[in-house]
C-alpha cells in the first residue's frame, strides 16, 4: 500500500494517546457480538471524546471496519471526535428561549469565549452547544453549564456565569 500522509499522521498521533484504558474497555467486550456502541460510549466516557487512534484500535480488536465506526460516530450526535471542554455550555434555542432572545445569549458566549456551536476554546475549558430545548421553558432564556441550569438569563448574567467558571478553572 502506498504510504500516505494520513498514515504517518496516524502513527504520530497515536504516540500521544495512551491506549491502555481503551484496551481495558475492549478486553471486556472482545468477541461480543454488537459491542460497538457500548465500547464507543465507554471510550468517550474515559477520554471525554473519541480519539482517532482508538477508532483504529476498536476496528482491529472488534473486527469492524474503521470506516463503519466512523459512520456510526458521525451518525449519532452523542459522539465527539474532537476533545471537549471541561464545561459544556448548552445554550437553549428552543421556541420559548428563542422568543426571549436566546440568539443574543449565544452571541454573548461567542463574543466572550470566541466559540460558536460545537466549538471548544483552545484551553479546553469551554465547549458551546446550541440545543433545541432543555425542558425549562418557564425560565426562558436558559443556559446550562454541565449540570447546573441558569434561568431567566441576560447578557450580564451570562458574563457572570462565564467569569465564575473561568475563576474556578
Amino acid at each position: 500500500m502506498t504510504e500516505t500522509a494520513e498514515q504517518v499522521e496516524e502513527t504520530a498521533v497515536e504516540e500521544e494517546i495512551d491506549l491502555t484504558a481503551a484496551n481495558k474497555i475492549l478486553d471486556k467486550y472482545q468477541d461480543m457480538h454488537g459491542a460497538l456502541m457500548p465500547v464507543l460510549q465507554a471510550i468517550q466516557e474515559e477520554y471525554g471524546y473519541i480519539p482517532e487512534p482508538t477508532v483504529f484500535l476498536v476496528a482491529e480488536r472488534l473486527n469492524v471496519y474503521s470506516s463503519q465506526i466512523y459512520g456510526v460516530l458521525t451518525f449519532y450526535a452523542q459522539f465527539h471526535l474532537k476533545p471537549r471542554g471541561k464545561y459544556i455550555i448548552r445554550v437553549c434555542m428552543g421556541t420559548a428561549c428563542h422568543v426571549k432572545g436566546a440568539g443574543r445569549i449565544g452571541d454573548t458566549v461567542k463574543e466572550r469565549l470566541g466559540i460558536g456551536h460545537a466549538e471548544t476554546t483552545e484551553d479546553l475549558l469551554f465547549t458551546a452547544e446550541y440545543v433545541a430545548c432543555i425542558g425549562a421553558c418557564g425560565m426562558a432564556p436558559v443556559i446550562m453549564v454541565n449540570d447546573a441550569t441558569y434561568g431567566s438569563i441576560t447578557v450580564q448574567k451570562t458574563d457572570e456565569v462565564i467569569e465564575k467558571y473561568k475563576a474556578i478553572g
Binding site: M1, E3, E6, V55, Y65, S67, Q68, F75
Partner: protein
C-alpha cells in the same frame, strides 16, 4: 418453486427469488439503481417499485420483496410511472448535472432513467452538492457530488472484497459515502466500487476523459496475470486498450477483478515495449530485421547441437506452448521446462504420486458453498485475489469456517471468525502433518480404499498436535479444531498457491495437502476440492501440455547450472526473466553469461539485456488462443489490438523457428488447438467451439483422483536466526510484467522490506527508512514498510522488482536468516 404472474405472464421461479429476479426471468424490465446481481438486496433507491394485487394501497420495492405463491405483479402503471419520476426528481435535486464532462455519460443508469421517464423539469429545488473530489490516488476518482447513495460501493467492498473501505457517514441531507475520517482512498484498489457505481461518482482515473463508452470496441478475453483466469473485456479505441469494461456475464469471476486485472493492463500500451528484433553485435544489442535475427538465432542454436535448453514462461497460450514442445522435439532436446522448474512440483509430483492427477479437483464457484476452508499460506489472497473474494463470500454468506496456516497475517486472517494458525516460517508441512495425525487419532479420517495408511500412521507419530504445536508456536487446540471442521464439513476446500517465490517444499506441500484431501475425503467429492493454483495465467496449461523435462532432460534449474558449466551451449528463454525472478542469481548470471542466449519477451528485461538475440513478442491482448486456469477451465483469448512495431506473436515466431529447423508446425492457432487437444490427456474431446462464454472445464466440475495413495512427508525444521526474511507475492503485482504497468506501479512502485511494529520499534525504523539485509549469500537493501501483519522477527519482501536483486540472497529457501542493518 413458486408460481406468480407478472404483467400477465405466468412464471415459476425459485422461492428464494425476489420479484425483481422473477421479472427478469420473465423478460419484464424493471429499472434499478441499487440492485446488483451478486450483492444482497438493499432497497435504497426506490426506483424498482411495483404494484402487487395482494398488497394494494402501496407500492412494493421489487428488489427486496420475495415472491409468494399466486402473486400478481404489475411492473408498470400510470401511478408507478409518476412515483418513479418523482424519485428521480428527488435524486436530481442535489445531483450535479454535468453529463457532458462526466465519463459515465452514455452508460449512466441515472441518465438513462432520466431520459426514459422524461424528467425535463424539477418540481423541487435545493442546493446542488459541492463536495470536494477525491483525486489523491491515481486509480480511483471519487466525485461525491454525483452520488445517488445506492450503497453499492459500500456493499461490494464489504460483501465481496471484504475490505470495508467505504461507509455512509453523517445523516439526513448530509449523508455521503466516505472512508474512515473522510480521507482519500487507501485500499486494495481493486476497483470493484468502480464497476458497481451506477452513476459517475466513482470512476477509473486512468480512463479519465479518454473516450466515450459508445466509442469503445469491446473484446472479450482472459486476464493475462494470475492463474485465476478472470475474463476481462477490453474497451479498445485507437489501437489501445483504453480500459477494462465491466462484464459479469462471462467466465468464473462474475465481473469481479483485482487491481492487476482492472488497472494493470497498461503495460500492453507501454512505450517501453520492444518493437524490433535485437541482435548482439560488437557487444551491443542492435536493432535488426526479423530475417537477420532469425538467421542469427538459428545459427547459434544449430551450433549448440543437442546441447541446448528451452525454458518457457507460463503466460503463453496453450497453442504457443504446444509449439514450444514441437520446437524442442525438432531441436532434438528433452531439456524443456517452464517457470522456475521447482515451484510446480506440488502438482506434477506431489499430486501425481498421491492422487494420480496433475490439477485441482474442483472449480472455483463451488467454494462459495463450502462449510470449511483451509488456506495454506495467507498469501493465497495475494496471488489469487479474485478467488480470495469467493472465499470471502463463503465466509460471509455461508458462514464457512476458514482456517489459515500462515507465517504472517493477511487479508484472509482478518475475515470474520477466521482461525489463524500463525507458525514460525517454513513449518506449514508440520502443521499439515499434525492435522492429518489428529484426523487419524480421533478416528475422523475417511480411510476406505486408501493405500499407504499404515506407513502414514507410522510417519505421523512425531507429529501429534501437541508436539507440532510446541515446535511451530501454534495452539494445539486450534490445530485439532481445524482438523475436526475439515473432516465434518459436507463441502470443504483446501487451497494452496504455487509460484516462483514459493519454491521451498513445493513437492512436499503438494503431497501433504493431497494426504489431507484424501483423509478428509475432499479429493473427488462433489462440492469439495483441493485447489493447487498456479501463479501465472497459463501455469495449468503448461503442466497439462507437459512443458516439463523429458526422462533424460534437465529441468530449469539444472539447465541453468549446466549452461554455467558449459555443458549446455545455448538457451532459449520465452517470456521469462530468470535474472529477476528465479532463485539463486549467481547461478542464473553464470548461465546467461556462458551460453548463446535467445530471449523472447515484451520488454528489454534484465535477462534480455544479456541475450545474443532478442525477439519482440506480443502481450495477451494482441493474440488469440486459449489459457487453462487453475481450475482447469479452458478459455479463449481474443485479439484486442495489433502489436506495436514489428513485434510478432510467440506463435508466429515459434512457427518460423520450427520451419527453419525443418519441422512441421500447425498453420493457425485453431489447428494447433486441434492438434494439442488430440494428444493432451483431458483435452481429447475439447474443440474450440465448446469454449463458450464460461469456457470449458476439462475433466468436469469434479476431477476424480486416479489413485488414492497416502505418502508420508517429513516435516521441515525451523530456520535459525533472530530475523527471518519471507519472500512472496505482493497483492498489487504478479510476476515481473506488472512492474511495466502504470496501475500496480502507482500503488507499489518500488521494492520494500516489510516488518512488524515490534521489530520496527526495536530497530528504530520508520516507514521509508533504508534497510540493508545481510544474509549468508549476500545482501539486499530497500525501503522499510511498517505494518501490523508480521510477527516478531519476521520480515517480508515481494519478489517482483528487478532492482532489488532479491535472488542474491533468495535461493529457494522457505525463509532466509538475515541480519538487518539500518542505513
Amino acid at each position: 418453486m413458486v408460481n406468480l404472474t407478472i404483467d400477465g405472464k405466468q412464471i415459476t421461479v425459485s422461492k428464494k427469488a425476489t420479484i425483481y429476479e422473477a421479472a427478469k426471468e420473465a423478460g419484464v424490465h424493471i429499472p434499478v439503481l441499487c440492485y446488483a446481481k451478486k450483492l444482497l438486496p438493499y432497497g435504497a433507491c426506490r426506483i424498482c417499485l411495483v404494484e402487487v394485487e395482494q398488497m394494494k394501497g402501496r407500492l412494493i420495492p421489487s428488489c427486496t420483496t420475495p415472491v409468494t405463491e399466486g402473486m400478481v405483479v404489475n411492473s408498470i402503471s400510470d401511478e408507478i410511472r409518476k412515483v418513479r419520476k418523482t424519485v428521480l426528481e428527488f435524486l436530481l435535486v442535489n445531483h450535479v448535472v454535468e453529463c457532458p464532462v462526466c465519463d459515465k455519460g452514455g452508460e449512466c443508469d441515472l441518465q438513462d432513467l432520466t431520459y426514459e421517464y422524461e424528467v425535463v423539469t424539477n418540481r423541487f429545488e435545493g442546493e446542488k452538492f459541492d463536495l470536494p473530489t477525491d483525486e489523491i490516488n491515481p486509480l480511483i476518482e471519487r466525485n461525491m457530488n454525483r452520488c445517488v447513495l445506492c450503497g453499492k460501493c459500500v456493499r461490494v467492498c464489504d460483501e465481496i472484497v471484504g475490505y470495508g473501505s467505504y461507509s455512509f457517514i453523517n445523516r439526513g441531507f448530509e449523508t455521503k459515502i466516505a472512508t474512515a475520517f473522510d480521507r482519500g482512498l487507501n485500499c486494495e484498489f481493486c476497483g470493484q466500487c468502480v464497476s458497481m457505481c451506477p452513476v459517475g461518482a466513482i470512476l477509473p482515473r486512468p480512463f479519465k476523459f479518454k473516450a466515450r463508452p459508445w466509442q469503445l470496441k469491446e473484446v472479450d478475453s482472459v486476464c493475462g496475470y494470475c492463474g485465476n483466469g478472470c475474463t476481462v473485456t477490453f474497451g479498445t479505441k485507437d489501437n489501445e486498450v483504453q480500459t477494462i469494461r465491466f462484464n459479469d456475464k462471462n467466465g468464473v469471476n462474475d465481473g469481479n477483478l483485482c487491481i492487476r486485472g482492472r488497472f494493470g493492463i497498461s503495460y500492453v500500451n507501454s512505450d517501453k515495449r520492444l518493437t524490433r528484433p535485437l541482435v548482439r553485435r560488437n557487444g551491443h544489442l542492435t536493432e535488426t530485421s526479423w530475417d537477420d535475427a532469425i538467421q542469427v538465432a538459428v545459427a547459434g542454436l544449430k551450433a549448440a547441437g543437442d546441447k541446448l535448453g528451452v525454458i518457457s514462461g507460463a503466460r503463453l497460450t496453450n497453442e504457443e506452448l504446444f509449439l514450444v514442445k514441437q520446437l524442442a522435439k525438432t531441436l532434438g532436446t528433452e531439456n524443456l521446462d517452464h517457470s522456475g522448474g521447482e515451484c510446480y512440483k506440488g502438482v506434477t509430483e506431489g499430486l501425481k504420486e498421491t492422487l494420480g492427477i496433475q490439477a485441482s479437483t474442483g472449480t472455483f464457484p463451488q467454494v462459495e458453498h463450502c462449510d470449511a476452508i483451509l488456506s495454506i499460506r495467507s498469501d493465497f489472497y495475494e496471488t489469487h485475489p479474485v478467488f480470495g473474494m469467493v472465499v470471502n463470500q463463503a465466509v460471509r454468506n455461508n458462514e464457512a469456517k476458514l482456517t489459515v496456516i500462515a507465517d504472517k497475517r493477511g487479508k484472509f486472517t482478518k475475515l470474520p471468525n477466521a482461525r489463524t494458525l500463525l507458525h514460525k516460517p517454513g513449518l506449514e508441512l508440520n502443521i499439515l502433518n499434525a492435522i492429518c495425525s489428529v484426523l487419524l487419532d480421533e478416528g475422523l479420517a475417511k480411510t476406505d480404499g486408501i493405500e499407504g495408511l499404515n506407513e502414514l500412521k507410522d510417519a505421523l507419530k512425531d507429529y501429534s498436535a501437541d508436539a507440532v504445536a510446541a515446535a511451530t508456536g501454534v495452539g494445539a487446540d486450534a490445530i485439532k479444531q481445524a482438523a475436526r471442521e475439515l473432516a465434518q464439513a459436507d463441502n470443504a476446500a483446501i487451497l494452496l498457491a504455487y509460484g516462483l517465490p514459493y519454491t521451498a517444499y513445493s513437492k512436499e506441500l503438494g503431497t501433504a495437502a493431497a494426504n489431507l484431501a484424501l483423509l478428509t475425503g475432499i479429493a473427488g467429492r462433489p462440492g469439495s476440492g483441493l485447489y493447487l493454483c498456479g501463479e501465472k495465467a497459463n501455469s495449468q496449461g503448461a503442466v497439462d501440455l507437459s512443458i516439463l523435462p523429458g526422462e533424460k532432460g534437465l529441468g530449469a534449474q539444472q539447465m541453468l547450472a549446466a549452461a554455467g558449466t558449459g555443458e549446455l551451449k545455448a538457451l532459449y528463454l520465452i517470456g521469462e526473466d530468470p535474472l529477476t525472478s528465479y532463485p539463486d542469481r549467481a547461478l542464473v548470471e553464470k548461465a546467461l553469461e556462458a551460453s548463446f542466449l535467445v530471449v523472447q519477451d515484451l520488454f528489454l528485461s534484465p535477462t534480455a539485456q544479456k541475450a545474443d538475440v532478442v525477439f519482440p513478442a506480443t502481450s495477451f491482448a494482441e493474440k488469440d488462443g486459449t489459457f487453462t486456469n487453475a481450475e482447469r477451465r479452458i478459455q479463449r483469448l481474443r485479439v484486442g489490438i495489433t502489436p506495436p512495431g514489428e513485434a510478432r506473436t510467440d506463435f508466429a515466431i515459434l512457427q518460423q523457428l520450427i520451419q527453419e529447423f525443418g519441422g512441421q508446425a500447425p498453420a493457425t492457432s485453431a489447428e494447433a488447438f486441434a492438434a494439442l487437444a488430440a494428444e493432451t490427456p483431458g483435452y481429447e474431446m475439447v474443440s474450440l467451439e465448446m469454449l463458450g462464454p464460461q469456457g470449458y472445464v476439462w475433466g468436469g466440475d469434479i476431477l476424480q483422483p486416479e489413485s488414492k495413495k497416502l505418502l508420508p512427508v517429513a516435516g521441515a525444521v525451523a530456520v535459525d536466526g533472530d530475523y527471518q526474511l519471507l519472500v512472496g507475492s505482493s497483492l498489487y503485482h504478479s510476476g515481473t510484467v506488472s512492474t511495466g504497468a502504470k496501475g500496480p506501479m502507482a500503488v507499489v512502485s518500488e521494492p520494500y522490506i516489510e516488518l512488524g511494529r515490534e521489530d520496527a520499534a526495536a530497530l528504530k525504523l520508520v516507514d521509508g527508512d533504508l534497510l540493508k539485509l545481510k544474509a549468508a549469500a549476500g545482501e539486499i537493501q530497500a525501503k522499510v514498510k511498517v505494518d501490523r501483519r508480521l510477527p516478531k522477527g519476521v520480515l517480508f519482501t515481494p519478489y517482483h522488482f528487478s532492482q532489488l536483486e532479491l535472488n542474491r540472497i533468495y535461493r529457494g529457501q522457505a525463509a532466509i536468516a538475515v541480519e538487518p542493518v539500518k542505513q
